[in-house]
Symmetry: C2
Amino acid sequence: MSATGRRGGATRPARTAPARTKPVRTPSQDVEVALIDAAERVLVRDGPDAVTVRAVAVEAGVAPMGVYNRFGGKDGLVDELLKRGFTGLRDALIARGEIDPGERLFGAGLRYREFALSNRAHYLAMFDDAIHQDVTAPEVMLIARASFDELVGHVRYGMAAGALAEHDPQEVAQQIWSTVHGAVQLEIKGMLLVPDPDRSYRDLLGMLLRGLRA
Amino acid sequence: MSATGRRGGATRPARTAPARTKPVRTPSQDVEVALIDAAERVLVRDGPDAVTVRAVAVEAGVAPMGVYNRFGGKDGLVDELLKRGFTGLRDALIARGEIDPGERLFGAGLRYREFALSNRAHYLAMFDDAIHQDVTAPEVMLIARASFDELVGHVRYGMAAGALAEHDPQEVAQQIWSTVHGAVQLEIKGMLLVPDPDRSYRDLLGMLLRGLRA
DNA sequence: TATAGTTGTAGAACATCGTTCTATCACATT
DNA sequence: AATGTGATAGAACGATGTTCTACAACTATA
């Protein structure tokens, strides 16, 4: 058991706290962003499997040890990728000023798929752990939660406007998320058994809103 | 590039055709099922990551080479696991004699989740490729298709009975599949943000049927 | 300015993985 | 009884995540 090592402690050096004693010597943070950028580049260019410590280090022009010094291992680096992913997803879900509640939800739904298809590797890393990581940091989950809350907001808006039936907004948002995620995940994996995914997805959103409306 | 070897040819020996010359010497098929059974045992007991060629061979009391002799590699063995998985899923979806179309669909939906939760490792291997395989054999896709067709049948039944709105049954079945898969996948991965998954899933099915009915 | 300490680099090393190869051995058909 | 097919054991290769050690470079202090 326990397969590949992964020691107990090894908590990442918590690079948020300034330690407040003296003008703490800022560790060359360039290496950090260089590594994350490189990892993202490798992920998009060569796919999830190509995201190896050695490959990312080479891409960043940095020694492999940097990954362990700054992120505590591969998982720490991957977590940064996931953070960027969920941030992008949240941005996609933010309302674009739609007044009509149905349009607002429909638009968010369309942009959800758009994000997933334009960032397939990210999406699979986020929901499929295509890049194998042991656990997902609570830090990441918090950002994921923010994406979800964006959706909950739209649901509340729809209920307040009388467009959606009154229910626990969290529950309804979860239903929406489950639905769009399922469709998008199957589409990315090529398991969709319909000829026109674009149209089918629109129909799915229509069906969804029909099932949820007051 | 090309990461881990994986030669070009290596097509599995097509153990279906009897070669029709003489009473073809049946290659001790025991090794075959022993390996699949062992792989399944390892998968369920130790999780997807533990399904390694060596571990499965040990579990089966067989030499690692057996995997290559009989399945052409790890992927071939994994394909067998997937076949068993999709067969189980199809069995779960077969109607239990429900007359009411809504009940029939609802029941199938409940059993879908039941199967997934009772066979988490299988399910993740099927839809998440938790066991990393390069491509999925068309043979596997055929069985997956059979599961889907089971669902399409229920949809046709519902439309014929006037319980569901008239649409392309394939499209509607795809909508249902996307929805339940999304919910179940998120639940298995612990990404559900609702307190009572059981109740939420029932509500989801209710919403789904509401959106689909005539 | 000179010294000390932190930080990154380079490279080897370990265990595990999928995979291939080379022998040796057991069995079944002829 | 002779022959050949298939299984076995074990080493080997390349790649992976990870750790460790030695060395170079930079920053902050004396």
